[in-house]
């Protein structure tokens, strides 16, 4: 309990209040059911940890998906993209090892030349890490608007447990001054430790993971610590929130951590997309937040907590504003993308995800 005395001092609140000016999701069209993976690897079509996962098409990658999510965010923001001062993409599947994804996204959406555009990597929390940096850039008045994206075409080794969930998708957020926001960011807190639960070494195609070690000391400890300390410092409990969204590597983990933190199932239902799109890694908690913003009412308080292996969690308290009602119709909703669905078989999946050696 000693450390909790200090928590109030380490919760981040920029000196200039900030908020979400625009947001946008992207989920590709194709879906691979869990039964199709088990048919190949276990000999019988038994259900997996999620019903199905979203799969990027042949011509899609983190850059193209980020461009569409960013265009949706710009449309909702209603600002000239020339006003952006950062275009930050967080991912563990950047198409290039060396050449920033952010440069191509910035050019495509019409961002100016005076921007920051380095890429972010922190497993599944690379996007929220960029979100925190954007808060800092705007909160310090170095910029009026900064774009933070979490997007992945997650890699899963054929036959591995992760293959059932490793999915494609994500979301983009434009951070700006709170008075123009459609949702205000009230406070933020991050919890980071050195945790070898999941990793991918250089030049390796697929990640490795610590099996059951990825649960209790990794996912649960980090999310619980970040979320509970943030709520405590703000004098809030689960009851003070209308919605909560947590990193969603499957369906079970977010449901369990929500319960540990005192949330009821109905508070997490609308942001829990993993059962129908899988785990979109750096995009997972962020795309869940977009689904909530699509339906939230002004004044609704939202808790979002990401988790990235390695490991860390970023927790945010967000409050929906009046402007949300006017501007959210300016782009496709997250459910519009979920409804656009074409089922594929395992063979098509291996082709789309470049798992067939062509030479």
């Amino acid at each position: 309990m000693e450390e909790h005395k200090h928590v109030k001092d380490i919760v981040n609140k920029p000196s200039r209040h900030v908020g979400i000016i625009g947001y946008g999701a992207y989920i590709p069209r194709y879906r691979l059911p869990g039964t199709e993976i088990s048919r190949i690897w276990s000999g019988q079509a038994t259900p997996g940890p999620v019903k199905e996962k979203a799969v990027a098409g042949l011509d899609e990658d983190v850059i193209t998906m980020s461009i569409e999510a960013a265009r949706n965010a710009v449309a909702r923001a209603g600002i000239d993209p020339q006003l952006l001062r950062a275009v930050w993409v967080g991912s563990e599947s950047h198409p290039y090892a060396v050449k920033p994804s952010g440069t191509i996204v910035a050019e495509a959406i019409g961002a100016p030349e005076h921007i920051q555009a380095g890429d972010w990597e922190f497993a599944c929390k690379a996007g929220t890490e960029a979100f925190v940096a954007a808060m800092g850039l705007v909160g310090s008045s170095m910029a009026d608007y900064a774009l933070a994206i979490g997007m992945d075409t997650a890699q899963g080794k054929p036959g591995d447990a992760l293959e059932y969930t490793a999915a494609s998708g994500g979301a983009a957020f434009i951070i700006g001054p709170a008075e123009k926001a459609l949702a205000r960011v009230d406070a933020h807190y991050s919890f980071v430790t050195d945790m070898p639960d999941f990793w991918r070494r250089a030049h390796q195609k697929y990640p490795e993971h610590g099996q059951r070690f990825t649960g209790e000391p990794a996912y649960f400890n980090h999310i619980y610590s970040a979320a509970s300390r943030l709520m405590e410092s703000e004098g809030l409990t689960a009851e003070d929130f209308k919605y909560a969204v947590f990193h969603q590597p499957n369906e079970k983990f977010p449901r369990r951590v929500a319960k540990q933190l005192g949330f009821k199932p109905e508070q997490i239902e609308d942001g829990l997309l993993s059962p129908v799109i899988g785990n979109t890694y750096a995009g997972a908690s962020m795309v869940g937040l977009t689904a909530i913003l699509d339906i939230a009412a002004p004044g609704d308080r939202i808790l979002i907590t990401s988790y990235g292996s390695g490991a860390g969690s970023d927790a945010f308290i967000i409050t929906a504003q009046e402007a949300l009602l006017e501007r959210r119709g300016a782009a496709l909703s997250t459910q519009d993308y979920i409804a656009r669905r074409t089922e594929i078989d395992y063979a098509t999946y291996t082709r789309f995800r470049n798992k067939i050696a062509m030479k």
Binding site: G57, D59, E60, T64, A108, G110, T342
Partner: protein, 133 residues
Amino acid sequence: MEVPRHWRLKKQRYALVGEVCPHCEAKIFPPRDVCPECGGEAKTAYAFSGKGEVYSFTRMGNAPAGFEEQAPYTVALIKLQEGPIVTAQLTDLGNQEVQIGMPVEMVTRKLRSDDGEKGILVYGYKFRPAMAA
């Protein structure tokens, strides 16, 4: 490898940026600095909406060099809302059948890699069945 050419064409390819004629208001794509309607000089950049409809299409079974891994795919002539007709691949068709007059919208996609696994990735416009109402 054609790196300088890809760099030069990025604006029109990524975001369908063409030109508008300052004399007769004609929208021009691809940009060519001279208005095809009135012959006047036209260098003002103009970003197209990306909305259009299928004017005609064909299915490519035998793809040209650099596009083999994508075959079979559909190439279409798209009549843009603003007037010009552009040639582009259709994408995200799923099981949807293509029809003349079908409303489509521009998306930026990976066109190909210039020089296999080690070359630069070339991004540019394709069109998909319109999602927005």
